[in-house]
Symmetry: D2
């Protein structure tokens, strides 16, 4: 929906190499389907059947682009896939994976993240006579690999040379004629994990994809690691860029990833339930019922209710069907969109004091509308509780979100000002300090750029 | 999904007449969108702009069939709409509302329910020279109205004459050139309510549609009532068939209707939360966490947790995207379908005793698969709790469900046998007797045909 | 094209019954494809596989609606098909063949022509309680058959009873559960013929369809004849309505039918070539080259050149691709449409005196534009010659054409006035009297309503 | 159609620059529509509105890809377009014009022809680190231009530098941010002309496109010429590569181009009519009627009839509608395809001696089938006359055609052997020597590689 009041993640990636020689197309589809929440506008898969590539990609959901017949066409023991949250009017050739020919045959790439120095790299390449068919940073990476390959002895050494010049967030899968590679940037912004299914090696953005494929989770790809799979050498790991201090994106836990995924050792659901409990401790509310804003606030509300013992009841219902064609994309349409998406439970709400829990607060439009609906239905009080800290900055690593001037919690706004705008009795955010008590894996440090411009949050 | 392990409702209906003369197309779309859960395969709307009809109907969701431009085309102050759960290969002409010309112009009809004596009525009509373009019972009703109209003085008296011969469940909206009518069968199997939005009168299957339209709920249509709206006489009620003992369908509360709807005085959410509490009392479980099977079991699980104080935690996650093109429609595909739809939360589940709550139990395929997944993820015990009584009979009023031989709780199966099949430690159903304590409106009696072949359950 | 400057025929019909039991779907598609010129907006086929009907119909060309897979689905030894020249925004249920259930099962109908008393029949039926789902006269016929069948002993006797009340032009194919029937109205306005392919009986609007199917032409269906095919009795002919004076439509020869069809004994190509020769005798021209307006005028120009010995050269080229989405449908768009459709051969035309031959003259827009183009390219003189008489009246038998006020040759306009409007040096039409010398089959009389309001033209 | 028994041309190109600043989108569509015969599988247009590009391209006809709304989107005073005869399953990104970014912004390219040394150039580029997203030779050209541009002072000097290394046939339109360029290879294999419409300069493959756009023909682009248009310098011509001996493709006249086009001074229609006359002199036939095989043979037949005085009559009719989905693409389907496409005129043919004229003879499948049909319809004799010489070699300049072993006239086959295969009484080809009398423009020499491996045919 255009009126999204959430951050938007870039994409999800997946790759599979069956060393036993079986076709990987079906499992790639299933895995990609499990990553649909990371991007639902377009998707694609490329498989490699002894150098014969099959490429299927289009705008639409995984279920729209791939059906049983498409799956049958995806022959080959190596393959990779991608979902992304942009699409529509977009040219089909921008849909990933992208595939190019270079001196050693073809190379395909699926990437999640954002190269922060892509523009600089592109200009240098153009000045050296390179042509570009898109504005994608993926194409920059392709050029760099092709140029590196004229002097490097292998695809993996070329990729390592390219990593020298890339800055920013990237978790990538690459497929050369004979190899599948998984690469995670040295600071590990985006997740990437590895599993096994029989004789096959699998890479995916989130572990939930492994579950859907029936694969066993093996381990996370380390920040800075390159894993290369081929028939000759099996699985090899290159750690030239490992060991730097990490910046795992905190919002992968707060919102992007699926609750059932386990990223770098942390189950997303557990993080959120615990955040809800910590929120209850930091910002208690004198309420009759706890209610989550669906879907993002649901788990936080469970934690809040479990901690306080206040009954958890749905007060707001979300229509699960898409409504985006039904209204114009202006302010009036935005109102209709929210009205069509949400409704309140009148008898449950009437006369009650409600602790309304959401995952995050961006513009506040949805929250304001829901508070109004609750009040109109007779709620006595509404206490808004946000399961994450105040978002006050843009993301420098490519996550799309409203500009700082549109962020309700930015600009030094007080709680009173926000309550006045939202129409609620009180508001409370999870303190940044509480994030350190969420029990995320202590081996890593985490990026909280959008909260405090810092990228090295440590757990207690 | 073809592998649906739930009952399937027939459809949802909506109608609107703006006595002030405004266009009703946009509100009909919004209302129909709110009824999408009652049928997501095809939908249609017909509006009447001073006798000029605009008909838009097709396979697909409301959001697919109607966009901003379609809405603009739907001119006129009278209109009606329909969603249904069948579609696809189905011929477009079977999509409702259906419209026919008769001696007084055109008549359009949207119907929810099932005429039990339709075949008898159709044969009699055919023997009298009638032609049929479908197997729909709606076409039978159209013929009866047209024939009645040759002797009756008005559309509404014709409809009343037709009601004499109809048996079964029906909530209908009809539109003649100048009138909009809402009819509910004498036993009131299917819900139907009425609201106002400014100068407009609105009818809908569920009150959630009124909310989405921004209309005020006025009252339910009584079982046996015919309400007729026209410019000349405004709103008139005909109660010739009112007063019989009612048979409101219990599964409208258990599963079909949206939690935020209020049907015949009963908020569906409240019924389900209360059922969850009653279930907890009747079938307690020694569990560490309570978990609902999404989406149907979610509210029951809230009631169960609220009653027992056991923490409510998600143990099972449901992928909200459609996956139905991704697998074949055989047994192997069925397995894949469930695997793609559900996943467990491994860290939350490991080592725990789980009270797993669902709304109802049909074939048990989904429950069995989920229990297996929980056990594989390390759950110590799984105690299945069902928020409604054992379903052991077919529905004689047209609800589609597996045959009796496929119903796990039918055939005298013991709890032990069911547990053995499902792989869980214990199972418990809401006792039929507890349904009498769910505080549904005591003015009515309720149909529990699928539970005990009775149609007159009274509240305590 | 919307800017058609031609008459428009209603449709084409086809039917096939393989008494040997083979599937007829593929041959029906091939035959229907050969009739595409009779209607290119929508098409449909229904086959009957021991009472199991397969119905495929949609807007679009035969090649769009039917592909190899569709053909495979069309199982059954009986079937019928239809092409029509209306479609697009039209409701799919109006596409023929139409199928209804009646007291004896189902009946399907494909009709070419126009029932002139349909409205009267419909009103009587409505007053007797009948409902109509369309404005099609086919539905009126269906009602009459169903009602007749309640007292008549068979489908064919019912049809004969219905023929009593039908007026106008109709060539029809009907399929009951066990029978295929072909019916031609007593005056024979529209063509209908019969052929054999092995054990199969075939009916089609034109003989070119038999050729495409690989069937042997057997004979024309006589005006007023009903032919009934079934397994029990084979082929039977009912001639109750034969013997009236006929009114074969002259424009089937002038424009509607394909040149390679032989209708009621007359090859269409030969008629047109001969008309061109007669035109040359009646209206000679002092020209350097003869040129036909493609495509309709091509054959007439051949006759004109063959008679006079003047070289035949293309002066005007027609782009064979459809251009109808490329311009707006207003006057400016109409100009663009003609400009995109036609172009002149500059070197061939320059300095020449041209005899420009077309089949008929309606509004004259196209002729005027082409004359202008020829003059701009340097043509010295343009002498317009029309291969048929002046069209001055509407067709009372349902052929769509511009109203009388838009017919250039109507309203008593002189040749000089027409030349002034068209920009040509002279104009000449085939005299009506010459039609009597075209050597059409003398057993019949022909309808020339649009030329002189008469319906009984005799050959010499 | 897959069963094409003709040579296939590569494509058609068009470009327009309105120095007065008006939008060129609509005229480009109209011009492209007129070039549809040069490629009907996919098409595209790119316009440039002060550096903002609009790109619309897809599989399908011009009329399918561009409608009135698409035309409105094509804003800008510079633009170019392309039609090609490949498409379908093909990836959308292969559809021209292709657009890439390079050091000076973007560059778009539409090309007709075939670079014979593309593979060599590509390998050298890859070894230097270049990546390729397709197998198109257009992408090779793009790389060369981008690299040249790092040292050349302008787009046009870069293009001239690139021309040094290109071999083969190419007529191209290029659009840089501020310039439109038209380039024709030094031997002029493919046509390219230039026109004016008010303040706009137009380039197109054939002059018929200028007519459709309402532009005035100005002159042909010379072999080896580069014409560059920009706001600052207007129209400039670069003749660095002009003056070599030319190799205009003879089959542009025989078959590829539209009859109404004037290429390098020669009207295509006049060439073909004259070829028909020369054929009649070289290979007379004792026949009752002359008949052309539609559509290619039609004009040759006119010449043949005009020269001999034998009446021209259609004996074979071609169904103008596409039938390609209606049959399988194997041998049986091929038979069906021809049967559906062609039919004979039985009464015209019966008992006649026919001179059957076609433009060229490749495999001979279609000719054989038509001869059989004529004989089955009662033709007494069939004398096949081919309006061009025997085709006996592949085209080294990229025209797609059957292999030499499938060419009926190759391999030293005698006329008797061909007649035996085709079933006709006699066969005659236009002698190569006669080509020299077709009065094509004597300033040029012509390529007859497919006839005699020579590329320098002179006119008498």
């Amino acid at each position: 929906m255009d009126f999204c009041d959430k951050m938007r993640e870039e994409c999800g990636v997946i790759g599979m190499f069956d060393l036993g020689g079986g076709d990987v197309g079906k499992d790639l589809c299933y895995g990609l389907f499990a990553l649909q929440h990371r991007g639902h506008m377009s998707c694609g898969i490329v498989t490699n059947d002894d150098y014969k590539l099959t490429r299927i990609k289009d705008n639409g959901h995984v279920n729209d682009v791939f059906d049983v017949r498409a799956i049958e066409r995806l022959k080959g023991k190596i393959g990779l896939g991608h979902v992304r949250f942009t699409g529509g009017a977009d040219l089909q050739e921008n849909i990933q994976p992208i595939t190019t020919r270079y001196c050693k045959g073809t190379i395909s790439l699926a990437k999640n993240g954002f190269i922060t120095n892509a523009e600089t790299l592109r200009t240098a390449l153009e000045d050296d006579g390179a042509i570009f068919q898109s504005k994608r940073d993926t194409e920059v990476i392709m050029h760099l690999i092709a140029r590196a390959r004229t002097t490097c002895p292998s695809a993996e050494t070329s990729m390592l040379e390219v990593m020298e010049s890339l800055e920013g967030a990237y978790s990538m899968i690459l497929m050369s004629p004979k190899k599948l590679m998984a690469v995670r940037d040295p600071r590990g912004f985006r997740p990437l994990c590895m599993g096994r299914k029989g004789s096959a090696v699998v890479f995916a953005s989130e572990s939930c994809a492994l579950d859907a494929m029936g694969a066993e989770f093996e381990r996370d790809i380390e920040p800075g690691e390159l894993v290369c799979v081929d028939m000759k050498n099996g699985v090899r790991s290159f750690r030239d860029f490992c060991g730097a201090r990490t910046s795992l994106c905190m919002y992968e836990y707060v919102y992007f990833s699926r609750p059932d995924s386990i990223l770098d050792g942390n189950e997303v659901y557990a993080f959120r339930e615990r955040s809800g409990r910590l929120l209850a401790r930091a910002c208690p509310a004198d309420a009759d019922v706890v209610c989550g804003v669906p879907d993002g606030g649901t788990v936080y509300a469970q934690g809040y209710a479990n901690e306080t013992g206040i009954p958890l009841k749905a007060s707001v219902m979300k229509n699960k069907f898409s409504s985006r064609n039904l209204f114009t994309h202006d302010a009036a349409g935005r109102e209709n969109a929210i009205k069509l998406k949400y409704n309140v439970l009148r008898q449950t709400v009437a006369g009650k004091r409600i602790a309304l829990v959401d995952d995050s607060l961006m513009r506040g439009d949805t929250a304001r509308r829901i508070v109004t609906m609750l009040k109109n239905a007779g709620a006595k009080e509404v206490h808004l509780r946000i399961g994450s800290p105040r978002i006050i900055h843009d993301c420098p690593y490519g996550v799309q979100m409203p500009g700082e001037k549109d962020l309700l919690a930015a600009g030094g706004r007080t709680n009173e000002e926000m309550c006045a705008y939202l129409g609620c009795e009180s508001i409370g955010f999870l303190p940044i300090e509480s994030l350190r008590e969420t029990e995320l894996d202590g081996r890593f440090t985490y990026c909280t750029s959008c909260l405090d411009r810092k990228t090295r949050l440590k757990m207690k």
